[in-house]
Symmetry: C3
């Protein structure tokens, strides 16, 4: 296999490319498209100053990776369909301007506007106290902030790759460290790739315990969609074993929990927790389709890797952030203390790593949408979904 690799950020070796581009030329052609390009640039000015971006365009689908925000995805498009949403935070915010402790630990929200924001990787979920061992081996109550640190940690190494085999593969790899003395020593290694001319984008993550002691980890993929995939009448199509509202407020609409509303000013978010059905290989797929079922996005992944799934229905006014989150995770977005007591935290021995990830596919015709829907129906076929009408104790804190 012919791979052409280009380092663009490598702190240790003091490699840094302010601007970089690789595109078709006489020596480098891909079978799947003649219009592909991978480019790297740096934003200047305002809250975005110093943010590095890598844009992968496969000729049909385009994605903008944000090395400076933990290798998240800013936005994308496929066949002119926009992937992403309109957050009240309009511009990308450099992590140095984010103070996660603000407002009782929700300062993370001041930088939240991505198509994909990883939450983790030491913890994610609701802010609040957890019991943590300190440097003297004592347990002390320590405040965790909303959704963890990884999205506000710049990658220390980023490489761009073009592989010519088959239709050709475009990818970016990155490394992000979440480490400190007396704390977990976790490294995220990600490969984010797409095939030239395709309608999909795959994320393959490895969380490595590079420390000398067994360590906990959690990850949640906060993928976020607004228009045109989200609109009044959009539907979540998912093969479900069990569904529950996350709280009493969310319990009010259980009859229509798969359906999305039009934007409503002052709407209070609803969340549902799902146990997803998979095939024999533990593979599954979940889809968000628009009201006319002619375009959709799907997430395909392995439920053994990502056993928890959260649907976030935040159908507020467009101006306030009309958005839904499809959030496969190793656990639910409750505080880590609750997830631990329910056995949902990963434990990694020294040197051990956890493989996970998902593929995002953009379905751009009624036929494609209906094929994926059939696939999901097939996954559901043997399983009668259990729909809880109110929160349950294993998934929501404070329920008896």
């Amino acid at each position: 296999m012919a791979i052409h690799s280009f380092p663009v950020i490598d702190i240790k070796n003091e490699v840094f490319k302010d601007q970089f581009e690789v595109a078709p030329n006489q020596e480098l052609q891909l079978g799947g498209s003649k219009e592909w390009k991978i480019s790297k640039r740096r934003l200047s000015g305002g809250v975005s100053n110093g943010i590095d971006l890598v844009e992968i365009n496969n000729g049909r689908l385009s994605m903008t990776v944000i090395p400076t925000r933990g290798m998240g995805l800013w936005k994308g498009s496929c066949d002119n369909l926009r992937l992403g949403w309109d957050s009240p935070v309009e511009n990308l915010v450099h992590p140095s301007l984010i103070n996660p402790t603000l407002f009782n630990g929700i300062g993370w929200l001041k930088g939240f506007n991505e198509l994909l924001c990883r939450c983790g990787i030491s913890w994610h979920g609701a802010p609040g106290l957890d019991k943590v061992k300190d440097n003297s081996d004592n347990i002390s109550e320590t405040p965790l902030t909303l959704h963890g640190q990884i999205a506000n940690t710049p990658a220390h190494r980023v490489d761009i790759h073009v592989e010519t085999d088959g239709k050709g593969t475009l990818s970016v790899t990155g490394e992000v460290d979440e480490t400190m003395l007396f704390g977990p020593r976790l490294r995220l290694k990600t490969r984010m790739e797409t095939e030239a001319g395709s309608n999909w984008f795959r994320i393959t993550d490895e969380i490595i315990n590079i420390g000398g002691q067994t360590t906990e980890s959690e990850i949640l993929y906060h993928t976020n969609f607004g228009s045109p995939f989200l609109e009044g009448g959009s539907k979540l199509v998912a093969p479900v074993k069990e569904v529950t509202p996350c709280n009493d407020r969310s319990a009010k609409d259980m009859k229509t929990w798969t359906v999305y509303r039009d934007p409503v000013s002052g709407f209070i978010e609803q969340c549902h927790f799902l146990d997803i059905v998979a095939d024999n290989n533990q593979e599954t797929v979940v889809m968000l389709k628009n009201s006319t079922s002619d375009h959709a996005v799907s997430l395909s992944y392995n439920v053994k890797q990502l056993p928890s799934f959260t649907v976030w229905k935040n159908t507020q006014a467009v101006e306030d952030g009309y958005v839904t989150g499809l959030e496969p995770g190793t656990s639910l977005p409750n505080n880590r203390s609750f997830e631990r007591s329910n056995g949902r935290i990963i434990s990694l021995a020294p040197g051990e790593s956890y493989q996970t990830g998902f593929t995002l596919t953009v379905l751009t015709s009624a036929e494609e949408v209906s094929e994926t829907e059939a696939q999901i129906r097939e996954l559901q076929s043997d399983t009668k979904p259990e729909i809880h009408q109110s929160p349950i104790s294993k998934w929501t804190p404070g329920v008896e």
Copy 2:
């Protein structure tokens, strides 16, 4: 009208000019001065690294705007009179180095050294708990930090303008967003302008609720002056309906509340809250004049827009920050919870905006000082000032 506009920062369109300058040339001449210039530069190194500055020099008066610190004013001068003060923080500090939660919520002080620092725009004033609605519509006690966030938020858009009509107008416009998911979505749009050859500088602000729900806002203009306008014997000249000390400490000098002292090591700050008299158009003017009444600065503004006025007398040792603050605001610098309960918080419907601002004028001769003094006397004429000798309950928390 002929306007020449030059974008220098525009994150959304990825426009950024590291260095920029516009000055008289064969095609661009202004009637008011032949020596004007507007320039943009970026500071490098130390705590100031990455700070963008726009300097407007009208040929007589010069002001340095700080896009990176919420479009504040670093310092200025007019006829060789310095506008500004000597803070213990000698250099401009990039917002990424400011942690507002430090020291029980006064970390803002580690970056405070400007001639004009806007406080707001979701809240300003003393740190402490306020009751805030969270994402689940529950009220929770949330710690607010000293003087809010706007001064530590970089502008995402900045344009420079030269208008040739009349004597010619030099201006910079800027936009700063104070937004987050589940939080207020406020945008500050400012125009900061001066006439070629003049002795004044005008700030016209618009606070826009770009969100989908009704939102609160507060703003206070923290204008700060040291030598040569502040010295022992300097006086505040203001048309006053009502004056009160903000606390018992400030009550000690009510007989001489308009007079400033020489620097005194260990001096504890005094604050006075004022209700200012205005003319029939609600316009007023307040002046700080030096001991010999031959130079002064005045602030002219509309009391309907800015109904509260705070005088901050911080006549400490020069080394510790000998300074006075003249601070017109929509409210007093108490914690927002107290200002709300006294009806002094702005409420903005979706799309609604609040217009405010002021004009700073530098009076450089005894004649000019005495003219403005006459104007203030005229404003005062029909009103006998009510001078409270101790704090009053509507303006100071904890008073019965």
Copy 3:
């Protein structure tokens, strides 16, 4: 004396050199070495983005100074012996990414990986509440964060110097301000120098109270060594009046307190507090030697300037940060409130300054090691060390 000086950072005068180098040329030669060089560069990308480094290479010994992290030392080497350690935080972290309030005030650890990290200069030591005067002269309980602010404060002025007298001296001088309105106004002025061709590096610090009121200060030099100076069987050689474990955990190994272990996964740190013997001029030397006594590092300093000494034995797994800290200080790394009540805080009148510092020498042969050991034995000769088996009340909080 011929001095060649080169400013590389000077915010006030807007001087900044992205890249700079001075090396031997026809006009500039030093007696001690033909291979010396001083260079300045800036790191780009990831967590290190924007960090300025000054590397001083005297032809034999090399040190990398970090102006952006308070003029600390990143790492060094002498005759191919590495000076430094392998922190779980692999890359230098820009101060703008450090939030000291995280995790109950230990966020400082997320940037801790240097050979020399100054702790101070308003306070250092354990996080926790101290009583501090506020702007209204009231005492309020204020949370102090681990080890203070200086290591996360960029220097506002940095100059490089080459002196040709004698063998030739290479140095960098820097200034770092730790100031705020209503807070201490302290300036660190440092000179960090070495002689061409030598095996030593000297740090001369001056902490100046540039404010108008008497102010407290503390400083601790957190020098940190891993392999090859630290290994199983390495020894601390120090002339000791009194030694005590800092806590019960550290008390367990008092019989072998001078000896270091091999790395042990999950090892809990031990600390010892020392009162060091000095000569008639108050000069002393402390040494860390490897297991075979053929190389060592020593710290020479004045015990009147630095009366407290802490040994930090953190012999965890290499992956978790196998390291020892030799930490001369003006006080012990307890919370400032405890150090104050034991009379160990410096008080500086307005304009007063405190001189301190140390010389780090690399001993690269058994002969050199044994010479320094003899010198330490000589210092010890008249003094029988008092070895406490458990914590004592004057040095450890909570002991009766």
